[in-house]
Amino acid sequence: MIEIKGLAKAFAISKGNKLSDTEKQDVRYSEKAFHSVRDVSFQCGAGEVLGLLGPNGAGKTTTLRMLSTALKQDSGSVFINGIDVLQKPIQARKEIGFLSADTGLYGKLTAFENIAYFARLHGMKEADIKARIDDLFSLLDMHDFANRRVDTMSTGMKQKTAIARAVVHSPKVVILDEPTTGLDIMTVQTVLDFIKSLKASGTPVIFSTHHLDEVGALCDRVVVIDKGVSSFSGSLDQFKQLTDGGDLRQAFLAVIANQPQQGAA
């Protein structure tokens, strides 16, 4: 279970950096800070897949970074299975599997070495690591390039390795930042199937994306972030109902164009 309430994060603006006219009009800019996330709230329960939508620069990645404990929020709260990420970040990290927009892999290590390294950092025992990695290689069809160095892999191979790395410690919640961006159709399908398998196992999954077809196919819940605020948070059906025809693209555009809307939780 992931619970986020009133999340906010600002970054200081360097002295001497003058705001452009466009930035002066933007509510996220003050004299000294850029308020990347101003007020984001949502929750994602067991077996739910939550799609995080929003234009580029809306605050999605910053939100996910706070969820994953990479960044500390200025205000608001994040609970991962009841653990406050601000108070107990190390404990919270054990619960989280995070895949960043970059694959986050070490080029000079093999797929196996990359995954094993992160397994060790998560405190897994050597005896369990190999068995777990074998399972993941089978699940993601990775045996052919298990011992290949990452810097010689294709984008698809890298993404599969990154996913295996993110979930090697069997996390209780999974956060994926644009996991299908730049992938070929076959690899996208592998990623989507993997998300479905996580859902089936009762793992809450949050993933940010620009692909509304993926949202329609996978998500139970939708959150739209715009200018650092969760403008919409509700079920997929509630999101579809924002427009008469149930078109996701139109619904998204309607949320962005209108004032914040809240669907029934």
Binding site: F11, A12, L71, I90, F98, S100, A101, D102, Y106, L121
Partner: protein
């Protein structure tokens, strides 16, 4: 921390650039330096020694003995000329008609007979670094002058047995109290310290850039930060890796220097150098390494802090370039003539290390001062490591 350390080390050992900077460069730098310098020196010296200089001599009838000695010298070849004025001779040398002109005054014979001093003029281009030609003239002239002195004094009725004492009443001989090791340590110590400290820096530089800015650029840092490991453990793992590569570079350099020094000594019959090097004990080497350890730690912490701050590999390299100059200056100070290790210089970072290494090589180190240097350098290294750890906790640094 050790997981991070071993993983970083594995990656570095698979990296060609690291292998070049940490292993290949220290192994090859001394033989290449010795080889190039030796070859250039040998070639130019041999060429200069074999060179035959074309000369003209003005008023040679005034000093026929000298003119004859010059004529039969293997490095000189006479050129006939009618020129006699200084301007004409200078112009002719510039036109490459000959290399050198010796002008003996037209009244030399009569002045010699009257026991009066005269001035001879040697006109040539002095721009050459190896001025063997002047040395040849100087030697011949000394010999000639001594003959003249003896002839004149004999004419004045001085007993030939007393001539040497009259010509040079006092002979100063030098008795050197310095041992061979002290001499070699004095001349080599500062250069070795310079090379060791700079190699420590260069050995630390690339891995530091790769582990901070490189990780940011490749997007791996964020993944690492969300692992259930404290940031202190992560940064210390990285720090230890950079420290290891810096020390490895220095260690390989010392071993390489020892091996190549022994090979060169054997071939060049430099027995005194071999004996001097052999008198350096294991304790001296351990002390040298002990001083390099906190020095390398200073570099590792500083470079890692810079690298963590930089957004990209290139930005980190740009920040690090001025650091090399900042390191070279105190090392150059240590190489300055007359610079000695005392309580004041023992507290100047890097200068103290260079002076201490020199003293250790000379075998004249003051252990109290070495302890002071070790303590002050370790304290500085500790402060910089603490800063590096603090730096790595800062979001504004990690997510610039």
């Amino acid at each position: 921390m050790w997981q991070v350390y071993f993983k970083e080390l594995t990656e570095l050992l698979r990296d060609k650039k690291t292998l070049i900077f940490v292993i290949l460069l220290p192994i090859l730098i001394f033989p290449v330096l010795f080889g190039i310098v030796g070859l250039v020196m040998a070639t130019t010296t041999s060429k200069a020694m074999e060179e035959q200089h074309r000369y003209v001599i003005v008023n040679e009838q005034q000093a026929p003995e000298f003119a004859e000695a010059l004529f039969y010298h293997k490095n000189f070849k006479k050129v006939e000329t009618t020129l006699s004025s200084e301007q004409e001779l200078v112009a002719a040398i510039r036109n490459d008609e000959f290399d050198v002109a010796l002008v003996i005054p037209a009244d030399f014979a009569s002045r010699k007979a009257a026991v009066q001093q005269t001035e001879w003029q040697l006109i040539y281009n002095r721009s050459s670094q190896l001025d063997f030609m002047y040395n040849y003239f100087d030697e011949m002239l000394k010999e000639y002058a001594e003959k003249l002195q003896r002839g004149t004094l004999s004419q004045l009725g001085v007993d030939p047995a007393n001539l040497t004492a009259i010509l040079k009443p006092v002979e100063l001989t030098r008795v050197n109290t310095a041992e061979q090791r002290e001499n070699i340590g004095e001349s080599m110590g500062a250069i070795l310290a310079y090379a060791l400290v700079l190699l420590c820096l260069s050995g630390a530089m690339y891995p530091a850039v790769d582990m901070g800015a490189g990780e940011k650029e490749r997007g791996t840092l964020e993944t690492l930060l969300i692992c259930p490991v404290s940031r202190t453990a992560i940064v210390l793992g990285k720090f230890l890796t950079v420290l290891t590569t810096a020390l490895m570079t220095a260690l390989i350099t010392v071993v390489s220097l020892g091996v190549w020094g022994a090979i060169i000594s054997a071939f060049a019959d430099l027995s005194k150098v071999s004996e001097a090097l052999a008198s350096i004990t294991i304790v001296d080497l351990v002390l040298m390494f002990s001083l390099l350890l906190p020095t390398a730690a200073i570099f590792a912490a500083l470079l890692l802090a810079i690298s963590i701050y930089a957004r990209t590999f290139k930005e980190a390299q740009n920040y690090m370039s001025p650091l090399t100059i900042l390191v070279i200056v105190p090392l150059m100070i240590a190489m300055a003539p007359g610079m000695e290790l005392d309580v004041t210089t023992a507290l100047i970072p890097l200068t103290n290390i260079a002076l201490a290494i020199k003293e250790l090589l000379k075998g004249t180190a003051d252990y109290g001062l070495l302890a002071l240097i070790f303590a002050s350098t370790t304290a500085l290294a500790g402060a910089l490591i603490a800063f590096c750890v603090h730096w790595f906790q800062q979001e504004k640094v990690l997510f610039r």
